[in-house]
Amino acid sequence: MRAENYEARNHPPSHEFEINFGPNHPGIEGNYALKVRVHGDQVVAARADGGYLHRGFEKLMEQRLWIQNIALVPRICVPDPAPMEVAYSMAVEQLCGLDVPERAQWLRVLQLELSRLAAHLFTFGGHAATTGMYSPMFWGVADRDLLLDLFEELTGGRVYSIYNIPGGVRRDIPEGFLDRISATLDYLDSRLPDYDNLLFTNRVFVTRAKDTGPITQAQALEWGVTGPNLRATGLAFDVRRDDPYLVYDQLEFDIPTEQAGDAWARTLVRRGELQQSVRILRQVVERLPSVEGPIRAPIPNPLAWKVPVGEAYVRIESSKGELGWYVVSDGGEKPYRVHIRGPSSMHAVQVLEHLVTGARIEDVAQIMFSLDACPPEVDR
C-alpha cells in the first residue's frame, strides 16, 4: 500500500473496506489482482498483486537447449508473442555473431507488425468492454481472427507462432500470401471508420476515457513508462525509430503522440499505431518480393550448439512498450541466465497502483486496460 495515500484517521473503518479486484475478474487482463481499499466508490489505496501467472520462464530457459527456448518464449505474452521470439533470437544471434539474412529480417518485421495489429485490436476491445461497450470487443476479437488466419498460414500456428529461430525464420511465405495480407489490410482500413463511430468518437467512451488515469511526461519517465503509454504523454520515443533494429530504418512510418497522458490519449496513440502498422505492412508487401536470398543463416546442429561466452542486451518495441532481453551465455549448451525487462511490469505495478488510487471504482478496470499491461509478461 502506498503510505502517502492512506491515513487511517481520515477513514473510519466502518466506511472502508478492502476488496480483491481479481485474480479472476472480467475487468482484469488475465490472472492478475489488485487489492483495493475503497471508501464508498472511491479507491483510497491499492496494491498490485501479481504472481498468478508466474511460470518461471527465466529460470526454465536455463534448463533448456538454446533451440528449445524458441518454443517457450512466445508464451511470455499471449496477445503479442512475436516480439518475444524475435528478441530472444536477436540476443542469441548477437552472442553468436550470426548475420541474419535480409529476407529473414523483412519477414520478422512482417510478423512483428501483424502481431502488433492483433494485439491492439485485442486491447481496443478490452478497453471498450471495461466501459460497458461489448460490441467493439466482439469486433476486435473477430478482426484479430483474420490476422490469426494469416499467422496460421505463415507460421503454422494461430497464436504461438514459434516462427523464429536464432539465425532467421523457419519458413518462407507461402504461395500468394502477400496478396492475402493486402486483402486483410484493405479490410482493416475499411473497418477503421466503423471503430471510430462505435468507439473512438463515441461520446460515452470519450467522456469515460478522458481525464481518466492521467500521467505526466515527467512521471512517465520517472516510472519507466514506455511504448504507447509514454507516447501518450507527448514524448515521441519509439525503439523502432530511435534505436532501429531489423530493417525498420528502411521503412517509413510516423510516431503517433498525444499530449494528455490519460486513458483517452493512450487509446488514440494505439489507434494511430494501428494505422502506422498497416502502412509498414504495405511497404513490406511491396519490398519483400525484391529481397531475395535465404531465410536463415547456417546454424550448427541444434542438439550440439554451444553459444560463445558473453552477454547480450536486445531491445525492441512491442505493442506494450520497450521490451528488453538480457541473455548471458557461459559458453554452454543452454543459457546461463536470461532476464526479460517487460514493459508491463512497470505499467501494471507502480503506475497502476498510483493511477487507481483516488480513482472511482468503475474506472479501475478501464485504467488497467488503457495501460495495456500484460500480466503473464509482468510475472514471466
Binding site: E153, G156, G157, P174, D194, T201, N301, L303, A304, W305
Partner: protein, 611 residues
C-alpha cells in the same frame, strides 16, 4: 482517415451509425468447417517406412512429450541403423512447436492439418498417441507442417577431408588423407544427434556417441578414454576401419553420415603412445599368476592381450614375422595406414605389460603342444595370410603371384622386379591395394602406370569401396568390370598377359558361383606380372596333425563357440581365421575371447584342474 481531434470527437449519435450492421452478414458466416492452413501444426504423422527409431525427436522435444515405443512387428536391423522404436506423443505435454519435424534426420515426421482432438471415450490415454501415416483419427486431413531441404535443421554435408591429389600421391606411399583440423573436427562432431545407431552397428560396439561428443567438447582425453573402452586398435581403425557405424548413422539416411572414422583418427592423432597410456592408465590389479599364450600379433590377438594384461594375467604373444601387427601391417598399404600409427597402437598395448616375441613360428620354433604345457590358455589369432589361386591355365607361372605376397613384399621393402605392365585379378579392396601399390612402384621406377584390374563383377555390384575405385581410377589404373580370367599367356616362357572373357552372369539360379561367359568377347590384357586377389585363407599347418585332428572344422574353418572357444578347453580362436577379414571384427573377437579366457582362468574349473 485523419487523426481524431478532441474537439471533433464525441458525438452521442456516432454509435448509431453502426446500426447498419443489422443488415450485414455476420462475420462468423458461413458456419462450415474450416480447412487448416497448408502448413498448420496439427497432430503428428509419422511415416513408419521412413522412420528408423533414432529418437532424435525425443531429444529435441522441449516438453519431454515424446516416448520411444517398441513396435515388435516392425523390422529391426542393427547394421542398417533401423530400430523398431517409434515415437509416441503425449498430447498433454506437446506444445506443437514442430522442432521434432525440423530435426527429424529421416524426414519421417510431419504434422497434420487437423485442428481438434476430443476424447471419444473416458480414457485419458487417448491423448497418448503413437502417430502413423494415417493421422490421429485415421482420417486423412492432409499433411501440414513438413520439412523441405531449405528448412532442414540437420546439416546433410560432412566436412570435406583434405587429401593428396592423384599427381601428388602416385609416386610414393605417403598417407593420402590429411585428417581433420580442430575446427573441422568440432564442426563434424557437432552434426551428431547422439542416436547411438553407430554403437549398435559396430562389431565391437564402440562408444562412438560418447567420443564424438567429447571431440565436440574439445575434450580429446575423454574421447581417447571412450575409444579405449572398446578398441585398442584406435589408430588403425581410425584409418582403415570398414566403418559400419557410418552405414548405420541416422544422419546418413538422407545426407552424408558423420565421419566417425575420421573423428576417431583426429582424436588419436592428438596424442603420443605415452600420453595415450597415461590417459587409459596401466593395470591396477594384482597379478593373477595365470599365463596366456597368443599366437599371432594382429588386431584379434593383441586386443585380447590388452584386455587380459589389464586384468592381471601374464600374456605372451608369438609372432612369426619380424614385426608385430599382423594383416594390417603386411596386407594394408602404407598410403592407407602409415605403419608408425600401427606401431603407436601396439606400443600402448605393450605398455600394459604384454610381451611380444617376434620371429617365433609356431610349429617350427615352438609347438602347440609346448604352448599347451607352458601356458594356462592359448588363443589363436591368425590372419588370412595365404592367397587363393584362380587355378586357370598358366597360373603356376613364376610371375603369377598372390596379392598378399606382393603386399607383404612392399611392406618389407623387399627389392623385387617391378613389372612394366601388370594385371590384377579380383575386384575387392585387396585387389585395389595390390594394384595401387604396384602403380606406385611403376611410377617410381618407370614414370608411368600400366596396371589393369580385371574383376568379375560389374560396377553396380562391385566389391571394392567406391572411393577405392575412384582413387584407383584417378591414379591411372584401368579397371575392367565383368571380365572373367581364362588363361595366363606366356611367350617363350615369359609371361605376357591374361586373357579374359566378358561375364554374362556370375551365379546360377540357386545362387551358386557358376560364372557364364560370352565366348565371343575375348581380350588379352598385357602383363609381365599377374596378381591374383580373389580371396585368402589361413595357414593352419602350424597346428600340427594331431591337434588338427582333435579340433572341429567346418568347410575348412575352425569351429568355435559364441565366445571363440574351440572344442579343446584350453584353446580359443579369434579374428580373421574365424570371421573373415576385417580389423574391427577382429578387435571385437579379441574382446570376446579375452572375456571367455578370463572367465575360465578365474573359474572354479581351472582351480580344480590345478589342484
Amino acid at each position: 482517415m485523419g487523426d481524431i481531434e478532441y474537439k471533433k470527437a464525441g458525438s452521442i449519435l456516432n454509435p448509431l451509425k453502426s446500426l447498419s450492421f443489422f443488415t450485414r452478414p455476420a462475420v462468423t458466416e458461413p458456419l462450415e468447417p474450416r480447412r487448416a492452413a497448408l502448413r498448420y501444426r496439427g497432430f503428428h504423422l509419422n511415416d513408419w517406412e521412413k522412420c528408423v527409431g533414432c529418437s532424435t525427436c525425443q531429444k529435441v522435444c522441449d516438453n519431454a512429450a515424446i516416448t520411444m515405443v517398441r513396435v515388435p512387428s516392425l523390422p529391426e536391423d542393427e547394421l542398417q541403423g533401423i530400430r523398431n522404436l517409434r515415437p509416441a506423443i503425449d498430447y498433454g505435454r506437446c506444445c506443437w512447436c514442430a522442432l521434432c519435424v525440423d530435426l527429424c534426420p529421416t524426414g519421417s515426421i510431419s504434422l497434420s492439418r487437423e485442428y481438434v482432438h476430443t476424447c471419444t471415450d473416458d480414457e485419458l490415454s487417448s491423448y497418448f498417441v503413437l502417430p502413423d501415416p494415417r493421422g490421429m483419427h485415421n482420417e486423412h486431413f492432409g499433411e501440414g507442417w513438413n520439412k523441405t531441404p531449405e528448412n532442414d535443421l540437420i546439416d546433410p554435408r560432412r566436412q570435406a577431408m583434405g587429401e593428396l591429389q592423384a599427381e601428388q600421391r602416385i609416386d610414393h606411399f605417403g598417407e593420402i588423407v590429411h585428417g581433420y583440423d580442430k575446427q573441422q573436427a568440432i564442426i563434424e562432431a557437432s552434426r551428431c544427434v547422439q542416436c547411438g545407431m553407430c554403437h549398435e552397428a559396430c562389431p565391437t560396439h564402440m562408444d562412438a556417441p560418447e567420443y564424438i561428443r567429447a571431440i565436440w567438447q574439445d575434450d580429446l582425453e575423454e574421447a581417447v578414454r571412450q575409444i579405449y573402452n572398446t578398441n585398442p586398435f584406435a589408430h588403425t581403425c581410425g584409418r582403415v576401419c570398414t566403418h559400419r557405424c557410418e552405414t548405420a548413422c541416422s544422419i546418413g539416411k538422407r545426407g552424408e553420415p558423420i565421419a566417425i572414422r575420421w573423428l576417431k583418427r583426429y582424436a588419436m592423432d592428438a596424442f603420443t603412445p605415452e600420453q595415450v597410456r597415461d590417459i587409459v592408465g596401466t593395470p591396477q590389479v594384482a597379478p593373477s599368476g595365470r599365463r596366456i599364450a597368443i599366437v599371432g600379433s594382429g588386431p584379434a590377438g593383441l586386443t585380447a592381450a590388452y584386455d587380459l594384461a589389464r586384468q592381471g594375467h601374464q600374456v605372451t604373444v608369438f609372432e612369426g614375422l619380424d614385426k608385430p601387427g599382423g594383416m594390417p601391417r603386411w596386407g594394408i598399404p602404407e598410403y592407407r595406414l602409415p605403419y608408425e600409427r600401427l606401431d603407436a597402437d601396439i606400443a600402448v598395448i605393450e605398455a600394459m605389460g604384454v610381451e611380444i616375441r617376434c620371429n617365433t613360428w609356431i610349429g617350427r620354433d615352438i609347438s602347440m603342444e609346448q604352448l599347451r604345457e607352458d601356458f594356462d590358455a592359448v588363443l589363436l589369432g591368425l590372419g588370412l595370410q595365404l592367397g587363393r589361386s584362380t587355378r586357370i591355365p598358366g597360373a603356376d607361372h613364376a610371375a603369377v603371384h598372390k596379392a598378399v605376397e606382393v603386399l607383404r613384399w612392399v611392406t618389407e621393402g623387399r627389392a623385387f622386379k617391378v613389372p612394366r605392365t601388370a594385371v590384377v585379378i579380383g575386384g575387392g579392396n585387396v585387389a585395389m591395394d595390390a594394384a595401387r601399390s604396384l602403380a606406385r612402384l611403376q611410377r617410381k621406377t618407370f614414370g608411368e602406370v600400366r596396371v589393369t584390374v580385371s574383376a568379375l563383377e560389374d560396377f553396380d555390384h562391385f566389391l571394392a569401396d567406391p572411393e577405392e575405385v575412384r582413387e584407383s581410377d584417378e591414379e591411372g589404373i584401368v579397371i575392367l568390370p565383368s571380365r572373367g580370367p581364362q588363361e595366363c599367356i606366356t611367350e617363350d616362357g615369359r609371361l605376357i598377359g591374361l586373357t579374359t572373357l566378358r561375364v554374362m552372369s556370375i551365379f546360377d539360379d540357386q545362387h551358386r558361383f557358376a560364372p557364364r561367359y560370352d565366348e565371343t568377347d575375348r581380350q588379352l590384357h598385357e602383363g609381365e606380372m599377374i596378381v591374383e586377389a580373389i580371396g585368402q585363407m589361413t595357414d593352419t599347418g602350424l597346428l600340427g596333425e594331431e591337434l588338427t585332428e582333435a579340433l572341429e572344422w567346418s568347410r575348412g574353418r575352425l569351429q568355435v563357440d559364441a565366445d571363440g572357444r574351440t572344442s579343446q578347453p584350453w584353446l580359443w580362436a579369434a579374428g580373421d581365421m574365424v570371421h573373415g577379414p576385417d580389423v574391427v571384427h577382429a578387435v571385437a573377437d579379441g574382446h570376446r575371447a579375452a572375456r571367455s579366457i578370463h572367465r575360465y582362468l578365474t573359474s572354479d574349473a581351472i582351480q580344480e584342474e590345478a589342484s
